[in-house]
Symmetry: C2
Subunit: 436 residues, 2 copies
């Protein structure tokens, strides 16, 4: 079948054969099918979607465009974790060492931040010396040795995803469930996971704004992962306000250490422990979520989780002393407070303008090529539901570069809504979708 | 607005601003916007369509990508004619000299054949010496002088259309009414028409298969042309069976001459005269279609129409003697008849397999780059409704190259359906849509 006919078939709402989907992905990766045909195809998929069989074939074709890491020789299943992204979402930095401290094997390949959301790689690189560019052999050895490695996407794993994602990003074809699912699941299968816990964010600060769309994505992820032989659990968690207090890079490392030490913000702790508990269940380390929660708490109290983080940092060339002395992390030279204009209760904090304010200060990037300032940050001082006096700080902006400070302040101010009565408590974990 | 945002707006079903549409067309023509963004945009338009205002802006942007011929100095309005394409559709070869013989000014820029449909340029080039590549200055002078010139698309007129059409052709985005309308109307405005008669084909052999879709296209063409200052009339005509008997290139010239001489197949004569009568009305040469019909018949009977064809051929370097001696046209060296397997009535003749059979014999091209054989042809001997004896010829295949003859015979055979009773007469002109 010619590429033109494959595009027309999908455009007409027909189900594509496995041969057609494979020919398209392979032809694109090999440079035989031009960008302009693939982008038209992706837009047709945006409108017509794909059923589970097509999505699985697409995912499999993307996996087969590169190599797959094999962790089957390990004594327990490799379990991955993926978040669809939010503001202040540093759960990977907590969950990975915590899970590894319980004896789980956690291979973790992460991305960089773009726009108002941060990226795990950028956060890790704020640790002096930390190297996210391990070879696949080093990656595999470190996971087998200390239970966890945290690296960036390599050219060997799912190269078709990299090429397709770059094209989707500039053709308004990112927001398609089968394309999102194929992108996420292909990388997780390629990185060697046999179990996977997904944190699907929902709300105004998330990619998926409504519970319905988040549920549809979570269900498609779970179904597709399962059809490809993984055990998958998804939690749908709230992304109305930023997660925790810290939004930036080094500040998110600081806050992650607080949680690994047994403290930290309540919402961040709750979501992180829930994700780690699901991983423990998939890895066979616990028979119930309650038992898993107990094990995780013991590891935190005993200092094992924090020690595992030190081990990972040291193994990847970073300075493990940052765990005990956050002054060793990059710090911003200036700060500025956004104060409450009146007395009242914080009714809501929009995650997106907070994330964008942090980006404008240098914590994130507007374009893929831009550099970042690891020290730039927004600290959320008052969370939703808290009482505040007029003039009390709502958040603190930390920065070295003040060129876009005014814009950042305006965004941060706009993010907070104050009211006269205490709002209802926010539910952080909204749904659990499991397939086992 | 960034290109990405323009794509996303259209994808989300929003109406695009005039600035956005112009920025897209201009950026694409100037090479600043890549193919892969434009093809995603075109697919979004396929699904979301465009309203009249957007379509007019798109058409105007395409016109403005090149120069526009100005015929406003002529004593009567320049009137164009366009057909959406069918098998055996040689009406341009008849209508252009016929209209010009009545004192109308008929600038006509045509295309080449592709797939199962032929192209006016290929037919004209079967006339020895005929040059379709006039400069715009020559084109304008000839129209002003003898009332008509028949040329191919030039790089100066609507270059954006050429670039957009080539992209649509390989990305399954041809079949979109606003994109079809912008492509047709932009070229007609650029060639200097102030009046336009459209022959929108409908039926199994046409681009638009149903009367509803043909009507939607015709109405959009008429509305858009009118909003751009043209007077436009559309006829919806049947393309169930091939028009006339001749399908090919030189054979279609022969049959056109027959009609200009007052003979020729009834269906071809009816459609050609109806189109020319509409042109006469738009050009102010007649006050009613009846009066227009009388004038046209007089011009045919007096030999003026045929003489105008000789003039045009001579003006463009061709041999005008072909009008009186069709042996001067390329003739195929071989022929082969497809005979009726039984006695009966011709119930239907599918235009598409007949057109494809002619293409396989060399009359058309499968790809844009392919060459053609001007002599290759299919002559339809029996038309729908005619009675036939077993063994009588249904059609004759004429060819020089027999490499795909078997395939062509099979297609020609498959095109004819015979029955026991005479079918109802086919209506050739189904609807008239006028805006004046």
């Amino acid at each position: 079948m010619r590429t033109l006919d494959i595009i027309a078939e999908k455009r007409n709402g027909r189900k594509l054969s496995s041969e057609s989907i494979r020919a398209l992905v392979e032809g694109y990766v090999q440079g035989q099918i031009p960008d302009y045909q693939v982008s038209a195809f992706l837009m047709a998929v945006y409108f017509r979607s794909m059923d589970d069989e097509e999505t699985v074939t697409l995912t499999r074709a993307i996996i087969d465009s590169g190599v797959t890491v094999d962790f089957s020789g390990l004594p327990s299943p490799a379990v991955g974790k993926h978040s669809t992204g939010g503001v202040g979402d540093k759960t990977s930095l907590i969950v990975a060492p915590l899970a590894a401290s319980c004896g789980m094997f956690v291979p973790m390949i992460s991305g960089r931040g773009l726009g108002h959301t941060g990226g795990t790689l950028d956060k890790l690189e704020s640790i002096p010396g930390f190297n996210v560019n391990l070879s696949l052999a080093q990656f595999k050895e470190q996971v087998g040795g200390i239970g966890c490695a945290l690296i960036g996407q390599t050219a060997e794993l799912a190269p078709a995803d990299k090429k397709l994602y770059a094209l989707r990003d500039v053709t308004a074809t990112v927001e398609s469930i089968p394309l999102i699912v194929a992108s996420i699941i292909s990388k997780k299968v390629a990185e060697g996971d046999t179990g996977l816990v997904l944190d699907v964010k929902t709300g105004s600060g998330a990619f998926m704004k409504t519970l319905e769309s988040s549920r549809a994505l979570a269900e498609a992820l779970v179904r597709t992962g399962r059809l490809l032989g993984m055990e998958v659990t998804a939690l749908i968690t709230s992304m109305e306000e930023p997660l925790g207090h810290a939004v930036g890079n080094s500040v998110e490392v600081v806050e992650s250490v607080e949680v690994l030490r047994g403290g930290g913000p309540e919402d961040l702790r709750e979501v992180s422990l829930a994700l780690a508990a699901e991983m423990a269940l998939l890895a066979g380390k616990a028979r119930s979520l309650e038992e898993a929660g107990n094990i995780l708490n013991q590891k935190i109290v005993a200092g094992d989780a924090l020690e595992k983080f030190r081990q990972i940092i040291a193994a990847q060339g970073g300075d493990p002393r940052i765990v005990d002395d956050d002054q060793l992390l990059p710090m911003a030279s200036h700060r500025c407070e956004v104060k409450a204009p009146r007395k009242g209760f914080v009714k809501s904090i929009l995650a997106e303008p907070i994330g964008k304010a942090a980006m404008l200060l240098g914590a994130g990037r507007e374009t893929v090529e831009a550099g970042i300032d690891p020290a730039a940050a927004v600290w959320v001082r008052k969370k939703t539901g808290e009482e505040v006096d007029a003039g009390e700080p709502l958040c603190t902006l930390e920065f070295n570069d003040d060129r876009r400070l005014r814009e950042a302040i305006a965004l941060a101010e706009s993010a907070f809504a104050l009211g006269d009565s205490r709002p209802d408590a926010v539910r952080r974990i909204l749904e659990r979708i499991a397939a086992k």
